[in-house]
């Protein structure tokens, strides 16, 4: 392989090389520094005059004396079934002291788009054991449902609880977990690893670790390596795969950094104008394919800068994913775990995975009613702060109390409390029963007769 020593400029993570033979766009590049270290990069722009290479590691040590080798192929990842149970770096190299991965296949990491015609509708209910998810923002197999959180909030606990408890009722298959860390601290990573080890999940996991002190640019490939692995496990080997990506905010920061180094015209708040498309090329890699056994379900985690949901990172994510679970600081301050605020949370695929034949016939209506009642009660809190409880009508007072009860009973649960969907729905009814029956306008008479505790007790007694 020809080696060029024609570096003309280095700016941030970018290396400019001239007088090369024709180099392919997106090609993998090896850069050999004076001390013999090999760093990897990728072609961002190629012409007969100059080639721009984005380096995935620190550019420290790269200079005019570095040798640039163009590999002639785009970045591929070796995958094989022995990846399960392994820990790899954010660049895909084993870091657990174990042997190299025996490749059964080498796959393009950018991953082609699933033909929409080949997709099949996700509709298998995943029980996470968390009421605010199962009851009101149901996750289904093949969905991409992110957790929107903020610094200092227990999103990792929520993610771990999901990973521990997720199951499809009636199916004995366990999820394989692909975990990709981007720019999180060693401590956080250890927290995840310890839990995986304790629960035995590690055996059916593949872990990619790009930590806070690893090169930021490497983060731009970590989720792609993880998803390539997930697709292989799912669509080649037939696993149902749960992918956890954390923290997407660090990924986006890396994108911004590269954009700035390229002197691109920035989009909103300095993030690249193509960030939507870039994020879509990650998040869209979830789903189910007709006639193929496995599935890829994604739970990306991101921390909202300044708790701001309109910040470009959560905003663009929400525009791509199929809903979001919002972790909320106020609930956390009240000491409620998991501090999931259901109001801005949403699962768009919920309707496909609930109801008769999936969960229970009353699911949708109970969820709607819980939302409506909680939203109403929550609104009244603002009013109470101004006019005091006494100025409220009787009806208002009941909703106000409902909101507190909802947070205390429905939202709050233990870190290891694994509620079945029946328990969640019954709990919902128990809370709704504190409101007068005629206020339950979102539920049909029939269902009320069948599930309302008042009538159930009668039926039993």
């Amino acid at each position: 392989m020809k080696e060029y020593r024609t570096v003309t400029q280095i700016a941030g993570p970018l290396v400019f090389v001239e007088k090369t033979e024709p180099v392919g766009y997106s090609e993998l590049v090896n850069i050999v520094t004076a001390d013999g270290t090999v760093k990897r990069g990728q072609v961002l722009d190629t012409s007969d005059e100059i080639v721009v290479v984005q380096v995935f590691e620190t550019t420290a040590g790269i200079g005019r004396d570095s040798g640039i080798r163009f590999t002639g192929e785009t970045i591929k990842m070796p995958v094989g079934r022995d990846m399960l149970g392994r820990i790899l770096s954010g660049g895909g190299k084993p870091i657990d002291g174990g042997p190299e991965i025996v490749p059964e296949k080498r796959l393009e990491i950018t991953g082609a788009a699933i033909n929409p015609y080949a997709r099949s509708s996700p509709e298998d209910f995943i029980q996470t054991g968390i009421s605010t998810i199962d009851g009101t923002n149901t996750l289904v197999r093949g969905q991409k449902l992110p957790i929107f959180s903020a610094s200092g909030l227990p999103h990792n606990d929520v993610a771990l609880q999901i990973a521990r408890q997720a199951k499809v009722p009636g199916s004995t298959e366990e999820f394989a977990v692909v975990f990709a860390a981007m720019g999180i601290t060693r401590e956080e990573a250890n927290y995840f690893m310890a839990d995986f080890e304790k629960t035995g999940a590690l055996e059916r996991s593949v872990v990619f670790l790009n930590l806070a002190d690893d090169p930021a640019v490497e983060r731009t490939i970590t989720p792609r390596l993880a998803l390539t692995t997930a697709e292989y496990l799912a669509f080649d080997l037939g696993y149902h795969v749960l992918v956890i990506l954390t923290d997407m905010t660090n990924y986006c920061e890396a994108l911004r950094q590269i954009g700035a180094a390229r002197e691109e015209v920035p989009g909103r708040r300095g993030y690249p104008g193509y960030m939507y498309t870039d994020l879509a090329s990650i998040y869209e890699r979830a789903g189910i394919i007709k006639g193929v056994k496995g599935s890829v379900t994604q739970i990306p985690i991101l921390t909202m800068p300044g708790d701001d949901i309109t910040h470009p990172i959560p905003d663009l994510t929400g525009y791509i994913t199929e809903g979001q679970i919002v972790v909320n600081r106020e609930l956390h301050r009240k000491g409620i775990y998991p501090p999931i605020n259901v109001l801005p949370s949403l699962s768009r695929l919920m309707n496909l995975g609930i109801g008769k034949g999936h969960t229970r016939e009353d699911h949708k209506k109970v969820s709607d009613q819980l939302y409506a009642a909680y939203a109403e009660g929550n609104d009244l809190r603002g009013l109470v702060a101004i006019v005091g409880k006494d100025a409220l009508s009787e009806r208002d007072r009941m909703f106000l109390e409902f909101a507190d009860l909802f947070e205390d009973r429905f939202v709050r649960q233990g870190l290891y409390e694994d509620r079945s969907i029946e328990e969640t729905l019954d709990l919902g009814w128990e809370l709704l029963a504190t409101l007068p029956e005629e206020q339950l306008v979102r539920i049909d008479r029939e269902l009320i007769q069948k599930y309302h505790p008042k009538y159930r007790k009668k039926a039993q007694g």
Binding site: S26, N115, A118, A280, G318, Y319, G323, P344
Partner: protein, 584 residues
């Protein structure tokens, strides 16, 4: 390829930068379709600068190198129009996704071309003109029963026309000649039309008939006319796609073109699985039979996303020319605008507002301008209604795509996160939304619904306005402090919101509400309001009036298909309850 010209229809690549590549040594015109690289990826010329020809490529360019060949087809980006469009699902450049799946499996790889229509399938052609007849551009010369829709075969718009020499009934592929004119012109069932050029019409008319959608807040308060334009902006998760899909399902258009432009794959799958099972409320036939889908999802190439909108509107115009009412949904025009922005920034063009190209507003208005109610070249009346979703960053409507769109479209359905978070659906804000077609459509509602309808709508809007004012006071002093009369207003407004405006897209019955039912529902609420006012004037307290039991039954009406007996029963009870109040 002609000798001697060879070297100029064949150039070489000089630079590759994502979806934008530069070629030299090539003769080209703007928007020529070119084949890029050894794999002959499809691309389109978007800029010519001295010796450099700049091309956007519709497929992934990874691995392409400088020095690879580029050849010019000399054609502009066009779609194939003819029998076989209906029920199809295409990518942004009209490649049938079903064919792509056959050719390359479950994932979309590159370098595969596939024509928009099957060139093998035979269609039963029935002539509607005979030898000796004079035909001109646009005229209908025959029909094909495509699905339950009759596909009309037309003389291409740019043809000179002439006297029919020979026309044959029978089974033909789209390439076979079905009609020959005296001057030797051969007409097939296939037309190719460049997507960036509007198809010509004889005349544009002013819209005066509503596109009835079965969605109460739309038909009832903010209607769009057939041939009209509407925008539906809203933050993520507020209901753009659900609303667009509702329109695709239930609007009384004869043909629906649905463009998934830079959005989710699963949403297109949902349409594909759901539509064949749903029936057109008008014809009873599967909805899929009147539908053409274009799916260029967010992770498919951006250049093809840019083209998808043009591919869609050209297909819509083609059916309009047959005399059909077509409705086109584009979800989301913001992703289209972003595709323009991405390409533009690769071209290193001078950016306009928020990095969008300076021609953003021109492109948007050119697109919406292709909507309209028209007299086609052949004299048929048809229409294209365009409904564009807009996805403003952070839900902030002051951004360029929303603002430029609002300057053009006549209907604004403003989605509101506050409503969607409360699960008030459709989350269309009744105070900010508007329709500029109201005046033009009044007469239709008078005639087709009831002379009472227009006043009823005005009344309902008045109540909602009043409620908004009162809410401000409530926020300060609590609702108990309001005068009796206003407490009733608040209650009536709540009924309008919860009974009339809220509509559940996922309920088998409520998903589609005929105009007559909308009228009856609103009339029932108004009747309650009138009775309540009368009772209150007669000395009843707000608690009494609001406590009327029968009104709690009204929401159930939404979920009953043959609602009339039930509604009548409820209204009788209501009258009785108010009567009782008077006699006490």
């Amino acid at each position: 390829m002609e000798k001697g010209k060879e070297n100029r229809t064949q150039g070489v690549l000089k630079r590759i930068s994502g979806p934008v590549v530069t070629a030299v040594g090539l003769d080209a015109h703007m928007y020529d379709v070119v084949k890029v690289g050894n794999e002959e990826l499809m691309g389109e010329v978007i800029k010519i600068q001295g010796e450099n020809v700049i091309i956007q490529v519709y497929e992934d360019t990874a691995g392409i190198r400088p020095g690879e060949p580029v050849s010019n087809t000399g054609l502009s980006l066009a779609v194939e129009l003819g029998p076989g469009l209906l029920t199809s699902i295409y990518d942004g450049i009209q490649r049938p996704l079903e064919v792509l799946m056959d050719k390359m499996g479950n994932f979309i790889e590159r370098g595969v071309s596939a024509p928009g229509l099957s060139h093998e399938k035979k269609w039963e052609f029935v002539p509607t003109v005979k030898a000796g007849d004079e035909v001109k551009a646009g005229d209908i010369i025959g029909t094909v029963q495509e699905t339950n829709i009759v596909h009309k075969i037309m003389v291409p718009p740019r043809s000179k026309g002439g006297k029919v020499k020979k026309i044959t009934a029978g089974s033909f592929t789209v390439d076979e000649t079905v009609c020959t004119l005296e001057d030797g012109t051969e007409i097939t069932m296939l037309q190719r039309w460049p997507v960036r050029v509007p198809r010509p019409v004889k005349e544009k008319l002013n819209p005066d008939v509503p596109l009835i959608t079965g969605q109460r807040i739309l038909d009832g308060l903010f209607p769009i006319a057939k041939g009209g334009t509407a925008a539906i902006p809203g933050p993520f998760g507020s209901g753009k796609t659900v609303t667009q899909q509702q329109l695709a399902k239930w609007s009384d258009a004869e043909i629906v073109v649905y463009i998934g432009c830079g959005e989710r794959g699963n949403e297109m799958t949902e349409v594909l699985t759901e539509f064949p099972e749903l029936e057109d409320p008008k014809t009873g036939k599967p909805l899929m039979e009147r539908t053409v889908l274009i799916a260029n999802t967010s992770n498919m190439p951006v250049a093809a996303r840019e083209a998808s909108v043009y591919t869609g509107i050209t297909i819509a115009e083609y059916f309009r020319d047959m005399g059909y009412d077509v409705s086109l949904m584009a979800d989301s025009t913001s992703r289209w605008a972003e595709a323009m922005r991405e390409i533009s920034s690769r071209l290193e063009e001078m950016p306009g507002e928020e990095g969008y190209p300076a021609y953003l507003s021109a492109r948007l208005s050119e697109f919406y301008e292709r909507a309209g109610r028209v007299i086609a070249l052949n004299g048929e009346g048809g229409s294209v209604s365009v409904i564009g979703a807009v996805s403003p960053p952070g839900g902030d409507f002051s951004e360029p795509v929303t603002q430029n769109t609002l300057r053009i479209v006549k209907v604004f359905w403003a989605l509101d996160a506050k409503l969607s978070q409360r699960r008030h659906f459709p989350a269309i804000n009744w105070l900010n939304s508007y329709s500029l077609y109201l005046d033009a459509l009044n007469e239709w509602y008078d005639k087709e619904v009831s002379p009472e309808w227009n006043p009823l709508r005005a009344w309902a809007m008045g109540v909602l306005q009043k409620e908004a004012e009162l809410q401000e006071i409530v926020q300060l002093v609590g609702s108990d402090a309001l005068p009796d009369e206003e407490q009733i207003t608040i209650e009536v407004a709540r009924m309008i919101r919860e009974i009339f405006l809220q509509q559940n897209a996922y309920d088998a019955v409520d998903t589609f509400c005929p105009m007559s039912k909308q009228y009856h529902m609103m009339k029932a609420i108004k009747r309650y309001a009138d009775l309540a006012r009368a009772a209150q004037a007669g000395g009843a307290t707000p608690a009494q009036v609001i406590g009327v039991k029968s009104k709690n039954e009204l929401p159930q009406i939404k979920f009953i298909k043959d609602y009339e007996p039930e509604l009548e029963k409820i209204m009788k009870q209501m009258e009785a309850e108010f009567d009782a109040m008077r006699t006490v």
